[in-house]
């Protein structure tokens, strides 16, 4: 049987159910979204289908209105059919996968599954998204066939954005079913799979809430403040900026308390059970409905002054009064800021000697202990636990990776000296002479397996190519401080940027030409891709603004022109090279990053793609071929000779607006709508597979006997486009929707994109338009207001509207 998921049922339309439905719809699966009939129907409503579906409709509407959006494209909602559990339950028989996301109540779930058991089509997979109820309790007494097709599929909130999907096999689940669902989750839904055991709260939440509970208790005991704790457990330790308390505000205090209680109740033998008891003040907050963001007040809240100024406040745990937020720091944090890598930052904080550093050390050690004691209770390997924390809690390092960063031997010595118990499995590992949980050898990453006391390969998907691993395996062809060319085998090479935010500087620009020459001599094709961390991460956030700023302030326009020319030559070089070049963008793909992508022969983009030409925000225009190439993407999308006779305004205005309004897509689907991605471009759901899929694309193009494009003049809108833009800008100026300076910039951008001073529907050489780009860029750079925009962006990260 070729198992497929053509149609899936999601039962329960709350925030999780709605999120799963939206994700499935985005992945091209038809979805049946069901919920209960409201209990409080009036008599006249009892036969009204709309009233009976009120709950599910409300759930779908909430998903559609969510911000950030759970849908990659709201149009995906057409794939979702709504219904209720009384009138539409028979339709479950049509579904290949039935995913239960109802309230966390064993009897309700069992009752529902007993209905499903009768209705499900043979072979259909049934799963529960329960975050805490043991699966064995749910399926007790069900048929063998049901149990063979039943498992846990535990998504994290918000479903679209959290990479983690915990899969929990039941005792009798068929291996074929498990493998299929893992592959489906990874490839179709883009998730990172963690294999969890059927234990309470599974992996991510079991570890996660213990850490939070422990830190909250310790904060009270050691007289630390909420902002102090959040300062320590932020980026300096590879945690998200939301740290501890802001994370709980996001999740909801009630949810957090519930998950803690679940662990406490169901894990009587947990050696750290006491850490799951929330401090009193947290319980009081829940009683007072201070639940976090959803009630607009949690550990933090934002007040508005009468002058509409936002003021951040933080709760005082002793008084439960909100006080003005002051952002504290510690010497160890100031020191860590100066360090380049996360490993160095972690060491700086953990081995510091101020109050904050000592607190951090104690808490992190507690985390080490807890995580190590959970293997093999909740998962078989350290990899599963690390991945769960990275993908479900947005840690940059899981507990074992952080332990490696701190130095296992070094930290264990200190733990012993200070009287912390060292988990037995770790002690044994050290005794056997193994001093790290992970190691990299010949490009392959290994983890230490406690059971066999040996290193084993970290499993990776067949589509996954890790640049870090390849580089560790001496596959770097050449490199400089900003970029590397990496051999990803089979004749394909990857051009990798590795600057901060992957900003494009002159080193990268020089590097592109050199790389193209090398691949021309030695390879079949090239991928432009990288694997910077973060959520969503940055493929490239644009040109290196500090470099541009320096050129502006020094009035070094000759060098500016040379830089732009080289960038354009690189991008054109990639386009017209005799071999295929595929860009693999993900996350932030802005400005110059977007230009690089548009210049490639093909784009294989991640589903989470925030792509746009945003240069106008700093008073500039895309001059690395971007102004031309977005237009080209539009006009070349027309079939055959159609461009000759088409009203180009219908293409020109949206292409122009992309730049003039600095439009950024909120997903790859939107990038398609905005015209950044075309018919030949592909969307990949799993970012880990992006470079691998881009390489496949290169090889496919090679296999298809790749013919490079012919360089020919470009059909342009000409001055007719400028007239349209002049008129519309006048309206926007009058309506105060843009500043005089925006108008000045927009007019010139229209001039460049429409091919300059030419009649409508003329054909203009690409080199001519590229020259117009450079001239406009330099003219803009001479303007005080552009320089002011650049300076403010560098200083504050926010655009200046002057």
């Amino acid at each position: 049987m070729a198992r497929k998921i053509r149609k899936a049922a999601v039962i329960g339309s709350g925030i999780m159910g709605g999120g799963i439905a939206a994700l499935l719809a985005g992945a091209g699966v038809d979805v049946l979204l069901l919920d209960i009939v409201p209990f409080d129907l009036k008599d006249e409503e009892k036969n009204d289908p709309a009233a009976r579906n009120r709950i599910v409709q409300g759930g779908l509407d909430a998903a559609l209105q969510s911000n950030p959006s759970l849908f990659m494209s709201k149009r995906d909602a057409v794939r979702i059919e709504t219904g209720n559990l009384e009138d539409d339950i028979e339709k479950l028989g049509e579904c290949d996968w039935i995913c239960e996301v109802v309230v966390e109540n064993l009897n309700i779930k069992r009752d529902l599954f007993s209905k499903i058991e009768k209705l499900r089509k043979k072979d259909a997979v049934v799963s529960s998204n329960t975050s805490g109820i043991p699966l064995q309790d749910i399926t007790e007494g069900f048929s063998n066939d049901f149990k063979q097709h039943f498992m846990g599929t535990h998504f994290f909130n918000p479903v679209r954005y959290m990479h983690l999907l915990e899969l929990i096999p039941g005792a009798e689940t068929l291996p074929e079913v498990l493998q299929f669902m893992a592959k489906f989750g990874e490839k179709h839904l883009g998730k990172g799979i963690v294999w969890a055991k059927d234990t309470p709260n599974f992996v991510g939440n079991r570890i996660g809430v213990q850490g939070i509970g422990k830190i909250m208790q310790a904060m009270v005991a050691e007289n630390m403040t909420i902002p102090e704790v959040d300062a320590i457990f932020g980026p300096a330790l590879g945690r998200p900026k939301t740290a501890i308390f802001k994370t709980v505000d996001l999740v909801g205090l009630d949810t957090m308390v519930h998950v803690c209680k679940n662990s406490y109740d169901l894990c009587p033998d947990d050696e750290q059970r006491d850490t799951l008891v929330m401090p009193d003040f947290v319980n009081k907050m829940v009683e007072n409905n201070l639940l976090g963001n959803k009630t607009k007040a949690g550990f933090y809240k934002t007040d508005l002054t009468p002058e509409w100024k936002k003021v951040r406040k933080v709760i005082n745990p002793d008084t439960l009064e909100y006080e003005d937020l002051e952002r504290p720091t510690f010497p160890c944090l100031d020191e860590a800021k100066k360090k380049e890598t996360l490993e160095e930052k972690v060491k700086t904080v953990l081995y510091g000697d101020d109050k904050g550093a000592k607190f951090a050390w104690k808490m992190v050690v507690n985390g080490f202990q807890y995580a190590a004691c959970r293997v093999p209770e909740i998962a078989d390997t350290v990899v599963e636990i690390d991945n769960a924390m990275k993908w479900g809690y947005n840690f940059e390092m899981g507990p074992f990776e952080m332990w490696d960063a701190a130095g296992v031997k070094e930290s264990v010595e200190r733990m012993e000296k200070e009287g912390f118990e060292v988990p037995r499995n770790v002690k044994t590992m050290l005794d056997k002479g193994f001093t790290s949980f992970y190691k990299l050898e010949n490009g392959v990453r290994y983890f230490y397996d406690f059971v066999s006391s040996s290193y084993k390969k970290v499993p990776v998907s067949e589509s996954e190519i890790s640049l870090a691993a390849a580089k560790g395996n001496n596959k770097t062809v050449f490199e400089n401080a900003s970029a590397s060319l990496v051999d990803i085998e089979d004749g394909v090479f990857c051009l990798e940027f590795h600057t901060k935010m992957n900003a494009i500087n002159s080193e990268i620009v020089d590097f592109i030409g050199k790389s193209l020459d090398y691949v021309d001599q030695n390879g079949l094709g090239m991928v432009i891709g990288n694997e910077a961390g973060g959520m969503p991460g940055a493929f490239s956030a644009g040109a290196d603004l500090s470099y541009i700023s320096r050129l502006c302030h020094n009035k070094n326009y000759t060098e500016m022109d040379e830089f732009l020319k080289k960038a354009q030559d690189g991008i054109q070089g990639a386009k017209y090279a005799p071999f295929p070049v595929v860009a693999a963008p993900y996350g932030m793909t802005l400005g110059g990053g977007c230009e690089t992508t548009l210049g490639a022969d093909r784009i294989v983009g991640h589903a989470e793609l925030f792509m746009g030409l945003v240069e106008i925000g700093v008073g500039l225009l895309p001059a690395g071929g971007g102004t031309m190439n977005i237009w080209k993407k539009f006009v070349n999308a027309l079939p055959g000779q159609v461009a000759k006779d088409t009203d180009l305004a219908k293409l020109f205005i949206p292409a122009f607006m992309n730049i003039a309004m600095a439009k950024v897509s909120m997903s790859a689907a939107q990038a398609v709508d905005n015209g950044y991605l075309g018919l030949n471009d592909r969307i990949v759901f799993n970012r880990d597979n992006l470079i691998g899929e881009a390489k496949k694309e290169v090889l496919k193009m090679v296999d298809d006997a790749y013919a490079p494009p012919v360089k020919k003049p470009l059909k342009v809108m000409g001055n007719a486009g400028q007239g349209m833009v002049n008129a519309e800008i006048f309206n926007m100026l009058n309506g105060k929707f843009m500043s005089e300076y925006d108008a000045f910039l927009a007019r010139r951008i229209a001039f460049v994109m429409s091919g300059g001073d030419v009649n409508k529907n003329s054909e203009v050489d690409e080199d001519t338009i590229l020259k117009l780009e450079r001239e406009a860029f330099i003219d803009f750079a001479k303007e005080e207001k552009t320089v002011a925009r650049i300076d403010q962006m560098m200083k504050t990260g926010k655009p200046l509207r002057n």
């Binding site: 009203d647 001055n719 400028q722 007239g723 349209m724 008129a727 006048f730 309206n731 009058n734």
Partner: protein, 392 residues
């Protein structure tokens, strides 16, 4: 000059652009139907008596192109010899067409003409399908192409027309229109056939006909409700969907005959065009047009503003209509101005509006037993037009 008499003046309902009842009915059909109806409703008149059709249209292209004045008259079944022209003076096109049709009779060039107006803003959007402002002129004189909403904001700002006054004016227009509809006072409307394409059970579509009898944009609301709407054309503006005219589809027709032809065929004159004028103003405040055109037509015809029993002043925007009413000095005569509501409630089908307001003006003169009526409007590009009609 010869006497030229209006013997018939009718209109279709006005229906909302894209959302209204005419959204799938092409403009040629609206126009040919209303022209045909005008002839049929005129006792003693047959199509073969017609000589020429002047049809106003503000965007005479695409479905409204290829000289709709000729195409639609042939679709109406008029004989081949009936000629036709399309007249464009933006929002005064319909009035211009009636004036030209009258003038042809007065000059002795024709005996029997038809002045009409049509606009399907659904089929041809405002600005046309392919707007092409001149690249160089637009750089120095972009105001020539300015959006109408911006001009309304300019009028409100420059002449202090408050948001509250605009919303009150908008709500009153709606209330007057609702009252007129509910009491059957729109005597000038001819129920008009329309059609839509309806999906059948087998998945194919079928053209289904139906009749539209009422203007479909009338929405009663209080000034307070309108006060909640967001400004559309300026970040800090006062012009909203609630105090602006609606974009609308519709057609209207007026038949003009010489005195001799009336006698010969036994046609009953109902009114005559006494005078017509146009005047230019600043394009970025085009809405002030009536403020200049109405005094000019009063002077031309030797009438005083008090002599006028019915004013039909097109409500392109509440701001410009209110400003014009105040400046002309007729704010104390609101019982004579747009007595059945105006374009805020009934819609402003650009090139049709002049012809539509003529039909309304004559019907309203009849209702109140008045003698003189004025039809006036502003125009994009900065102009005003006004005509005086006398009921006979």
């Amino acid at each position: 000059m010869r006497e030229a008499y209006i013997v018939q003046s009718v209109r279709t309902p006005g229906c909302k652009q894209k959302k209204g009842q005419f959204k799938e009915t092409r403009p040629e059909e609206l126009l040919s139907f209303i022209m045909k109806s005008a002839v049929e409703r005129t006792q003693g008149l047959k199509p073969e008596h017609l000589e020429d059709v002047m049809c106003g249209c503000a965007f005479p292209e695409a479905e409204q192109g290829l000289n709709i004045g000729r195409v639609a008259n042939q679709m109406a079944g008029f004989p081949e010899k009936v000629s036709g022209a399309t007249v464009n003076r933006f929002c005064a096109s319909g009035l211009e067409a009636i004036a030209l049709a009258s003038a042809r009779v007065q000059m002795g060039w024709s005996d029997l003409t038809l002045g009409a107006g049509v606009e399907s803003m659904t089929f041809v959007p405002m600005g046309g399908n392919i707007p092409r402002p001149h690249p160089e002129y637009s750089r120095t004189n972009a105001e020539m192409y300015v959006s109408m909403g911006v001009t309304a904001e300019n009028v409100a700002n420059r002449y202090n027309v408050s948001r509250e006054d605009q919303d009150k004016f908008g709500a009153e227009s709606q209330a007057k229109a609702a009252r007129a509809r509910d009491n059957g006072l729109f005597k000038e409307i001819v129920p008009t056939p329309a059609y839509k394409y309806v999906k059948q059970d087998n998945g194919t579509y079928k053209k289904e006909e139906f009749t539209v009898s009422h203007d479909d944009g009338i929405r009663q609301s209080t000034p307070e409700q309108l006060g909640k709407l967001r400004p559309v054309f300026a970040a800090d503006g006062s012009v909203t969907a609630g105090n602006s005219s609606q974009t609308t589809d519709g057609a209207a027709a007026t038949i003009i005959a010489s005195k001799e032809k009336c006698d010969e065929l036994g046609l009953k004159p109902v009114a005559r065009l006494v005078g017509y004028t146009t005047v230019g103003c600043k394009s970025d405040e085009m809405g002030v047009g009536p403020r200049y055109a109405i005094p000019k037509i009063l002077e031309q015809t030797g009438l005083a503003k008090e002599d006028i029993d019915i004013y039909e002043i097109n409500e392109a925007f509440a701001s410009q209509a209110l400003y014009s009413i105040r400046e002309i000095g007729i704010a104390d005569m609101m019982d004579r101005i747009n007595i059945h509501g105006g374009a805020i409630a009934l819609g402003h089908p650009l090139g049709c509006t002049g012809a539509k307001l003529t039909a309304t003006c004559l019907a309203n003169l009849e209702e109140v037993g008045g003698k003189y009526g004025i039809v006036s409007m502003c125009m994009g590009g900065g102009m005003g037009a006004a005509a005086v009609f006398e009921r006979i």
